[in-house]
Symmetry: C2
Subunit: 287 residues, 2 copies
């Protein structure tokens, strides 16, 4: 198990700068984001990580399959979402990413940060079915390109606007119809630390665990809950038992640090990496 920088943690860095930063700090892996890769250029990004000898522990992100509600407009939105996901798979393949992280989307018509409009569908069960339907199309497509889709359960506080997959159990359930090479799950401490079934579900997930992401759950949460992700040790999560369970489940991949946090983003990225390495050793790795 080795430490990986999810580039959103050092958000002001370009792909090139983040790759340099990883090398400078002795990291072996990096998690990339699609929009940053697009900015740098896909071929150029692939070349940069290859030449630096870094693994791409994940590409963020596909998903948002629930965008359209029922009816003709909904089918069009769904088709557009599938098309965008196919592009994301292609990008993950070109980057040689270990997985494509899937944030599956919330209730149709609910927009993060925006007031509710008349276009919202409150049918949560239907939105969850839509995810399964999208996966049935995308899993074989990903499989043909050697890309693994990694379903990420998000904290239930994001159920309405970002992901109707709210528990690890639910993610594992959705993954089981597909070969393990095609569909896995993400264990992100921020999203799952509270779950009474966490340890049993990590064991059940076993080789389905495609990505282990760490960051802390801050208290109190900031006004924008999306930015409640903190440096490990700054919040309420007891990491060592979770890391131990992920290892016991057979996970041998990288451990990505993905922090959305205004203070972390404002800090010198080199200092962030130094702190991240120290905290990883102190609180994430089981003693």
């Amino acid at each position: 198990m080795s430490l990986s920088l999810n580039q959103w943690t050092t958000r002001r860095w370009t792909v090139a700068e983040a790759v340099d930063g990883c090398v400078r700090h002795g990291l072996e892996a990096i998690g990339l984001w699609r929009q940053e890769v697009a900015q740098q250029g896909l071929a150029e990004s692939a070349k940069l990580v290859r030449e630096a000898g870094l693994r791409v522990s994940s590409l963020c992100r596909g998903g948002f399959l629930t965008a359209g509600g029922p009816g003709e407009d909904g089918r069009r939105a769904f088709a557009a979402a599938l098309e965008d996901n196919r592009r994301a798979v292609d990008e993950a393949a070109e980057l040689g990413a270990a997985c494509l992280v899937m944030v599956v989307g919330g209730l149709p018509g609910v927009v993060p940060g925006e007031p509710l409009s008349g276009a919202v569908s409150k049918d949560l069960a239907a939105a969850r079915e839509r995810v399964a339907e999208g996966l049935a199309v995308l899993a074989p497509y990903a499989g043909e390109r050697g890309v693994k889709l990694a379903l990420e359960p998000l904290h239930p506080v994001y159920c309405a606007d970002r992901a109707v997959i709210s528990t690890l159990e639910q993610a594992v359930d959705l993954s089981l119809p597909y070969p393990v090479e095609q569909v896995g799950v993400v264990v992100d401490t921020f999203h799952v630390w509270w779950d009474p079934r966490l340890f049993e579900q990590i064991a059940r997930a076993g080789e389905r665990i495609a990505s282990y992401q760490v960051c802390d759950f801050l208290h109190p949460l900031p006004a924008d809950v999306l930015l409640g992700r903190g440096m490990m040790g700054d919040g309420v999560i007891d990491f060592a038992p979770i890391t131990r369970a992920v290892l016991a489940a057979g996970y041998t991949g990288d451990v990505e640090v993905e922090i959305f946090n205004a203070d972390v983003w404002a800090a010198d990225p080199d200092e962030v990496l130094a702190t991240m390495k120290a905290r990883y050793a102190e609180v994430v790795v089981p003693s």
Copy 2:
């Protein structure tokens, strides 16, 4: 099933005013809060609801059993929490409340709204054991006084600071060792709407459902997530299927509306009651 006003919804009203309001609007039940009852006087409050012919659908709240961490100080804090809960049971008995709502507490040392201090224990499993331990003491005490403890699972966003019971399944699990007259569970739409196991667990809870509370989950959440509870219809929850499931499980008690919301608190309480009645009929009661 009939509508009940949880008095926190009309927070500026005293017990006497809220009782009058319920009568004026034709409600048959009220949910009371301990601090408001203390303000009015316990015997006086009991007399007011009795003379008005109202049922007390719940008393809020006991719990906070996790206050103390490990060690001697922790045991003292635990003993003090038990003592306070015994007083809450006595008050519920005197008021003739259908149940005492239990908000069981978060991680030891985590204070709602306050930055984390060095006194925090991050051992979530231990905090959960502490709740079971407290329940073993309090359930027989409540049983002897004809009071039912109602374990409330809170939304996982409150796991650190308010309740380590995060799912209905977990609440039902904790209730099962005790007679149904002693320990039940609360189904509060705000806290459980996202849960993939919700409908299966409502059915499993059956006669354990001691209270059905409704309010909406707002989007976006306000800066203080505690105040993200909205009037039914203003948020993302589809109430009818949940109400239908609660009825199918055999619930025959009152439906309490409990809203924590700065705008609702600022409004004329009589208008709040009128809106609450209209929305109850429109979106909560299954057609």
